[in-house]
Structures are given as C-alpha cells and as structure tokens.
C-alpha cells in the first residue's frame, strides 16, 4: 500500500499548488467528509465563456484528499465549466495513479464533489 504514497502525491500534499482563497470569487463551495474530517473549499473565477481563469483550494485532511485537490486545481486551468462537468472518478484516479478502497475513494473524490456541486448544484453529484 505504500505505493499509494507515490512521490507525486506526497509532493502535492507537502507543496500544494493553488492553495488559498479567492475573494471575491464567482463560484465558492465547501464540503467535508465527517467520517475523517477531511475538508475542502474551492474558489473559482471564470471568464465570459465560463472558462476557469483562476482557482484556489483550501482545507485540511489526509494526503489523498489534499493531493487530489491540488492536482485537480492544476488540471482545470483554462477548462470550461462544461468540460468540468465531464470529470469522472476515473479522471481523479488517473491523476493520482493509484487504486483505492471505498473509504479512501471518498477522500480522493471530495475535491471533485466540491467542484461539481459548486459549479452545478448538488444534483450533479451522484456518488459512484
């Protein structure tokens, strides 16, 4: 299981990209996983074409939840909200490059959940 802590994941955890808050932001949302206390907030600024021009995340939690948020921020640069809608569980797992059991999957998916619910409302989020 230590390969779960690949260099790249630990690097994102220890040196998160896009960490912080945007104020004002066009879209802001936060949620947590009460089971383990992981918390993620995401702020977005979008242009007239609904493309992400700036983004930031804040929060706390395990390496998986925080690294996946940092990686996700990196990935959505310049993407449209339409494109964000298409992000799936597998995209996150591909970014992380690991397999996860059901409990850790929730950690990994928290940032995507916050992003999608923030952008589209809760009905967009179907837990897989």
């Amino acid at each position: 299981m230590e390969d779960m802590y690949r260099e790249v994941i630990l690097d994102h955890y220890k040196n998160p990209r896009f960490k912080g808050e945007l104020d004002p932001a066009d879209i802001s949302y936060q949620d947590d996983n009460p089971l383990c206390g992981d918390m993620i907030r995401i702020d977005l600024r979008v242009d007239e074409n609904n493309r992400v021009v700036e983004c930031a995340f804040s929060g706390q939690g395990c390496a998986i939840s925080q690294a996946s948020a940092s990686m996700l921020m990196e990935d959505i640069q310049g993407k449209s909200l339409e494109e964000i809608k298409e992000y799936s569980r597998d995209d996150i797992l591909d970014m992380l490059g690991i397999e996860l059991g059901p409990v850790r999957l929730k950690c990994a998916m928290l940032s995507l959940k916050v992003l999608k619910v923030g952008a589209y409302g809760v009905q967009e989020w179907i837990e897989e």
Binding site: M1, E2, M4, Y5, L10, P34, L35, C36, G37, D38, Q60, G61, C62, A63, I64, V103, R104, C107
Partner: protein
C-alpha cells in the same frame, strides 16, 4: 506472560490471525475495539448448530426445535452467569449494544420520563449512548446534562455531583471509553446516582469483553454489551436490566414470541425475557455468544484483564518514544487496552493506510465519538487496541510501522 496465560498459544485458536494480508505479510490485528476476531471454538459451535440443530425456538416440539430452544436458553443462562445476573430472565437478546440502549430509551424512557426531566450523559460517550437519548429528548422534551472529560481523560466527578443535584432521572455512562480507554468508576457513580434517585444505565460494550463484570456488585440498573466485541458473532448483543424494571416496562418491538395471546385488535404481552424478543431471534448467534462466553471463562476474565494491562502499558511506553506522537487519555493503570493517538503532520487515515501496508490493522477516524474528538479539537485519531491474542511483538510491529510513517511523511 502472567500465570498460565499465553497469548502466543491463544492466538492459535484464531483462524484470522493466521492469515496473510498480502504475500509474506501476516496480519497484526489491533482493531478489537471495533470488533474482535473469533476463535475456532465459536466458529465450530456456529457450524455445528446450523448443521445439526437448526430450528425455530420456543414453539416447536420436534427434536430439532427442542434442541435449538435448549441451546438458545442455555446460552442465556451462561451469559447471565458471566455478568452475575441474579436471574437469567433479566438477559434480553438484542442485535447489539446500540439496540439495547435504544430499547431502554424507548421502553423505559418513554414510560418513565416526562417533558422537562433531566438526564446525564458524558462527553466520552460512543454515539450509541448519545443518539438514542438525543432522539428521546427531542421527542418528549428532556434536558441533557453532560459530564465533561478532564485533561487526564477522566470524567469530571465534581461536575457529576453538581449535575446530580439537579435531580436527573437517569445517568447514561460508558463503563470504558472506546477511545481513551478510561475505565469509569461505575460502582461509585451508581451509588451517587441512586442516592439522588436516578437510575444508572451503563454501556458495557468495552468492559464486558475485557474484565470481570458483576452487575449486582456494580449495583447498576441496565447494562448493555455486544457479542462481536468478545469473540462472538455479529448480530447479537445483550441488554441486562433489573428484573423489576424490565418487568414494569412496556414491550419495545411487537410480533411473534413477545405475546401471550393476539386478537385482531389487541394482544397480551408475554413474560420476561420474551416480552422484549419479537420475531425469530438471532438463534445461531446467541448460541455462538454462549460459546464465546465459555471460551472467555476458560481463560478467565481476570487473566485476560491482567494480560491487557500488561500489553497496554508496554504499548504506551513504546508509543511515547515516537517523536511527535500524542496518546490521548489516562495512564495505563486507569485504562483498558485501547490507545488512540495522533502524529504531528500526518492525518490518521494516512497512518492507518501505511500501517496496513505492513499488515498492521489499526482504525482511523472519530471512532463514533465525535463529541470527544471535538473536546480535544481533533477530527480524527488513529487507534490501536489490544485483546487476549495480542503480544508485545504486535506492539513492536506497530511502532516499527509508525517510524515508517514518519519516514514517508518526513
């Protein structure tokens, strides 16, 4: 190893402890507080019951029905003796500790408590001894008072005395914390509660598996525990209550077996203990719980307790050597075999995950005690817990693993 008690021999009874988590990585099971492993004596009993004597209980007169009934009722007697109940009719089979407490809250609570009445809970309770009372409080309008946990992880008994002066009707308290390991002074708390006219309802989920329990000596009113935490199967637990209390309570669930007579629009309630056992019970599991009690009795609860004391003090010494690690709760002498801890800069999930890579099974999270974690300003801890099958070597592997965690996150 104390006396004749040898965990290395005892381990051989537990098939799960022989398993490899992955190639060449044996299991180091440190999660008994969540649920214990099961000895082959219990598994054989289950298998034997289902292969030979399986039938529905109480109503049948064919051979299997009589055997199943005898097995089910003999287990009740065995379990009653285990906690020194004065009468096996005081032993009610439930699904688990949680259902036992819900039974008391609903049946005793709704009959004996009224709007404005007070009850006392504590800051270290498991959700199972909080939520049923919160639901009852919201439904009928109770005031809830809370005994805080002090910096040593002990209940603040000074506050307890003050809260008793408000004339509460009930004190709901755990015998042993599943996070801090704290062993609460139930006997004294019971005396105080009774002096103030309150009942005392004890969550014994973490005590009954680990130490001798005598409900008459403790002088409590209700006591709940679960088979799965004490070498028994899932699906069965016990509510013990004083006969007069149980006898005066209305039924909780309705259905077969809890009745004497049923008409189309009304029914007559059955006697104890059947009054509280509606429908086909967990027959095989109750019999399996009896086998688990026999197994524990064979080792001796006092010896089990001493063994755990030994392991937990060794564990605390070794944990305290790990830089940046904090163990929550009291000194080893005042706790059972539970150690919840945090490690600077590493989330408990990551601790548990990395330990799992070396076969070391610990739990990470709030352990169904969110208010207690809030009190320590934590969202989660990692928890290693010990039972009759754990050894110093298990502790050593935990410590090795923690050093690895520090390396990964260093």
């Amino acid at each position: 190893m104390k006396g004749g008690f040898d965990a290395n021999v005892i381990r051989q009874d537990f098939p799960a402890l022989k398993r490899m988590v992955k190639e060449d990585v044996p299991l180091v099971y440190l999660d008994t507080t969540a649920t214990s492993q099961k000895p082959k004596q219990v598994l054989d009993c289950l298998n034997d019951y289902y292969s030979n004597n399986n039938a529905n209980v109480h109503r049948g007169i064919h051979t299997l029905a009589e055997e199943a009934t005898a097995g089910y009722e003999n287990a009740r007697i065995t379990i009653g003796e285990f906690i020194n109940a004065s009468n096996e009719k005081e032993i009610i089979y439930t699904r688990n500790t949680t259902e036992a407490i819900n039974l008391v809250a609903n049946s005793w609570g709704r009959t004996n408590l009224n709007s404005g009445d007070r009850i006392i809970l504590t800051e270290m309770e498991h959700h199972s001894n909080l939520v049923p009372w919160q639901m009852l409080a919201a439904s009928i309008g109770l005031e809830i008072d809370i005994i805080p946990v002090d910096d040593n992880g002990l209940l603040d008994l000074h506050v307890y005395e003050q809260l008793l002066d408000k004339n509460p009707k009930a004190v709901c308290v755990t015998h042993m914390s599943n996070v801090l390991g704290t062993l609460n002074p139930i006997k004294n708390m019971a005396i105080n509660a009774h002096d103030h006219g309150a009942l005392i309802i004890v969550d014994g989920a973490q005590s009954a598996p680990h130490m001798p329990v005598d409900v008459q000596d403790l002088d409590v009113d209700f006591f709940a525990f679960s088979a799965h935490k004490m070498c028994g199967p899932t699906g069965v637990g016990i509510l013990w209550g004083r006969y007069e209390l149980l006898d005066a309570m209305p039924p909780f669930l309705g259905g077969g077996d809890m009745i004497k007579r049923v008409h189309l629009r009304d029914f007559d309630t059955n006697d104890l203990p059947y009054k509280f056992e509606a429908g086909t019970p967990a027959i095989g599991e109750a019999i399996g719980m009896g086998a688990a009690v026999n197994y524990l009795n064979g080792l001796g609860m006092q010896s089990i307790w001493e063994h755990e004391q030994d392991i937990v003090s060794y564990a605390m010494d070794r944990l305290n050597e790990v830089p940046g690690l904090t163990v929550y709760g009291p000194e080893a002498e005042m706790r059972g075999g539970v150690t919840a801890f945090s490690l600077d800069g590493v989330h408990p999930h990551d601790i548990s995950q990395i330990l799992d890579g070396d076969g070391v099974a610990v739990r990470a999270g709030h352990h169904c005690a969110m208010p207690l974690h809030e009190r320590y300003k934590l969202v989660a801890t990692a928890r290693a817990s010990f039972y009759l099958y754990n050894t110093y070597s298990d502790v050593d592997k935990l410590i090795e693993g923690l050093h690895k965690v520090k390396q990964v996150f260093g």
